[in-house]
Symmetry: D2
């Protein structure tokens, strides 16, 4: 059987390199080509020595990748994916964008937070938001997917069951999130300089992070009513993972066991979301290097406050893993093909 | 001039050892003796090799420490300090407790969260809560001090200026706190086993931590009106420091610059509280190994939510440093004597 | 086709748990049972939450595991494997020991370093030392395998090509090795207490570590002449991996390019040993969570000293991965079945 | 009494900033000015927020610093200190160089390893090598000091007692050293990018590091006979500290207790060198943030190999602390003035 030919544009960044790492062990695909504007002609293993003797792929021209592929993944800064998506659409190729260009439906939001307009409006209308567990049917039909951001993935999955119940709660949700340093990418920066990060911890972009409109869009869509958030990300002195601690003030005392059961039921047929046993706390240690999203639920009876904690690996479920999960849905492969990654625990 | 004779009971734990480390460089005191029930006869440098050739102190009997000292510090699990405080009071010695026994004023609270009653009620009536910047006058007169917990210190200092203004806000405050592992102490435990902590991150005791009543007591006292919190601590994979991210929903839009200025004014004469320049974020890196509490203020105009971030070294301002600051106040020493510790920044 | 039934005895420790994690993704085997004396009746995911919803295996009795399995892995403290090996041999089952009991050929060595005699001498005569790349033919025929220690694996592979050339060198070799903390196991200890390890670094068991006789046995056997080592292990404040830096004094100036080429040639058909390009340095980052052993060669022309550096993941190539590689050899599976693990690089 | 006026040139780097941090707590000096070519006009606390509200120093012109100071420290890349030393000499000011320009006595060595000649030969003749414990008399008389490199400090102190005995040993010494990341400085680089360093470990500049000639110069001078080294540094995923593990092959079996006693005797009057009790191992944890050099001795009786392990904080004893210790010697201050830093142990 012929394997699906896939290409990666922007494969020199962390998201692209992680995609390659996972796709190399996917039984239904073949890597047709990888691209990076800055490294054309260089082998991937020069940038990421982990690939030595495993992959001899060399970065090639963007058009060559598109031509050779049935499906193209892009992992690029915002504004750069859109014209590539156009080329893919014109060539009738499928496109999964790990960047920000196809996540926001509302051009005004995009312009407000990214300072650029939509240039290819028709493509944005087609694009599907790839939160795999929530929009599987749309994903199966999609030709263009906006793969969710890492924070929005962890938050959207944690809040989905609540947003679709009849419980009444304050539609202003507090989200205190913490991410590992790979989230800041491969580029050198003061913020990723080891002596600045090691044994350090601090918030950043307080109530001002670009994932804010994406999260609000998702929650509002789920809840069918406007949801606002105060979103404060922090930088963890570790390599991988995101913990989001989410505070929802319930309008009145709830039966927590019922809500817990609703969470369990919602996700019982979803391989990659694990609702933890009551009393346990989600922990990065048990999702790293895997595609799992672990969710723990807690209830402060004194103040009727629901506390949701979700843990993902920002590079896997928060980026490359979910992109592959979306590909699996699109092409009818087993949802966990290439993603049977068991978290190491130590 | 004769130096003040000080003793440490429970000097084998982290809090006690840090006290010793700092007191050895304090110009007005002399260490009269150190005690640890489990290590009598052993030198401190066997437990903490950092003291080699610096201190040849050996753990001795508790009564010997009390007899030799003018002021006794205790750093012990709850329930164990109280009888020692009684001995000190009977011998007319001053007492600073780094444990939990003298922090809560209300016996019912203490019993509810610690499962033991007050045995020496008279002592509890005398005891002063040692949040140095907030209660300096009472501390100067005190003979017994309940030194605040690490989380309550970081939170009390961050909220004090707000609690004493006329702004109207939701008296249910969300506090998402993160602590380094020394907070869990010297005892071996699964939770402090390196492969479990390293590259991990998780909340614990969600809405259920024993510092909750202490924080609510402090805030309520400051605000002169009941304040409730939802308090969620997390374990950071680092050794030292606490970041508390605090969310206060304002009843209406505020002039943030005014509030910021009120913070600056409140702390302008307090050496150890630094209100960061607008736009900066508090960061553990810049308080570790010092007695500073750094506070940054942020305001989410979209939701009228005030975000306060405070950073301390849990072992210094959150324990031993503040205890020494209290001693300095009690004995009329310069407030920063023994505490001129400049954070390393790297 | 019926899959090979495998059991794990001592599956509650890190070595056993890692074996389980890898075997669950091995296409040719089925887990027949797992055992741990201390946890009978408990599910694996209670100890290692990474397995939640992935494996519902529960620890059972040792004899049940043996009865249900064709091949038994044991990961146990020294002295405990030997009687289990006997049971397996009596039941005509194959046995791979990840512990120390079947590594040393010479009973006197074993007794000198472990203070116990061989009890089942016949088994020791049959046992094959499972350094996969070096003894593949013997491994294919073996019924009992002593899987090498983590340090000896990294050192044996690095020195093998040199030991089998005609270069003359000082047969006293200096080995400075550094291991992550998982090497110390799951048991709580002062040496694995986070505040003791984090931001720390120190040697331990200087010239006195139990892997010394195993390393000397291997080198002497390869070199067909007595080789002695001075072996100094250090504890790295990371979870996984071993770097061994090895110093060999050559008797005279050598042509380094020739020796380098000999290394390349020796390992060119071995998937799991990567001789790095000249000028590169082996790095834990590029072998973690994989079965690779990376080797870099360096030559100090000023002193005719060869410096070999090898990097492995102590839990994979240094334990569970190599055990599976040995199983693959024994049963004629593809050597990399279950081991196509690409190191993450970040 | 008038305090000594000191200036720091190159105060924006880690070495300079650490100097400032320590000098601010030195009772006999006053900071006359700080300089950094790239940051003139900026306050130090913008670069290092740890200094907020502690120092309001602003970077000024180099000449202004020299004019205002009695003693000038420089912490600069090689080649840049020499002309500054000249200016200081011409103005009859003392000069302590934390960089490489005045460490090597032999111009040929300097040229071979740094690719530049000596330009001010007279200054080099005057310059004293500032290994405080070894050359105190020369330091007391010096006007120009070449402060030793971090690796050479740790190695020189560890080998000095051996080099000055009559034991016969192989004059080719193997040194396996490990340094924290602050050793690589404040400049951004791939090698200091958090995701590349965290959970990583690797050697670098194998047998090729620029500290090699400095170490050989020191050992040869001590031993009064040529000593050669094979020096292999490694990068530790921690912020601070250097462990050097040193292997010396003795020509015949030695009485180890005698040698150990010789070490104890050599350093018994030196505050900052601690020869650890027999059986203990030097550990970074117990020297960090202090000026101590801890040395442990070990002997491999099987191979007559002496193993010396030394631990320092690379920023303190390996740079700023030793520079201050040298200043204390030059000006007759107490040797430990400003350096009574007790290592935290946790």
């Amino acid at each position: 059987m012929n394997k699906l030919q896939v290409g990666i544009i922007g494969a020199s960044g962390y998201g692209g390199a992680e995609l390659l790492r996972l796709l190399l062990n996917h039984n239904q695909v073949e890597i047709a080509g990888i691209n990076s504007r800055s490294y054309i002609g260089k082998p991937i293993c020069e940038l990421y020595p982990g690939f030595q003797e495993i992959s001899d792929l060399v970065f090639v021209d963007e058009d060559a990748v598109i031509a050779a592929s049935d499906l193209i993944f892009a992992s690029l800064p915002h504004g750069i994916s859109e014209p590539i998506a156009k080329k893919c659409a014109d060539a009738n190729k499928c496109f999964i964008d790990l960047g920000a260009d196809f996540r926001l439906h509302d051009e005004a939001d995009y312009q407000a937070w990214y300072n650029v307009p939509f240039k290819e409006k028709a493509l944005h209308e087609q694009a599907v938001y790839g939160l795999s567990e929530i929009y599987p049917e749309q994903i199966k039909q999609a030709k263009i997917i906006g793969n969710p951001g890492c924070y929005p993935t962890s938050i959207g999955l944690a809040l989905y069951p609540l947003m679709t119940t009849n419980y009444a709660f304050d539609e202003h949700v507090i989200i205190d999130a913490k991410s590992g340093v790979t989230g800041a990418g491969k580029e050198l920066s003061e913020g990723s300089h080891f002596p600045n990060v090691n044994e350090a911890f601090h918030p950043y972009k307080v109530a001002n992070h670009r994932h804010t409109p994406e999260i609000e869009q998702t929650l509002t869509e789920m809840h069918k009513q406007k949801v606002q958030i105060t979103f404060v990300p922090h930088l963890l002195p570790i390599s991988r993972g995101i913990i989001s601690t989410i505070y929802v003030k319930m309008n009145e005392a709830i039966n927590f066991d019922d809500l817990y059961q609703h969470y369990v039921d919602t996700y019982k047929n979803h391989t990659f979301v694990r609702v933890l046993e009551n009393g346990k706390c989600a922990n990065l240690k048990y999702v790293q290097y895997s595609n799992y999203c672990d969710i723990s639920l807690h209830y402060d009876t004194r103040t009727h406050t629901l506390v949701l904690v979700s843990a993902i690996d920002n590079m896997v479920k928060g980026a490359a893993g979910q992109a592959i999960q979306n590909m699996n849905l699109m092409y009818g492969f087993a949802e966990d093909e290439g993603l049977k990654l068991i978290p190491p625990s130590f």
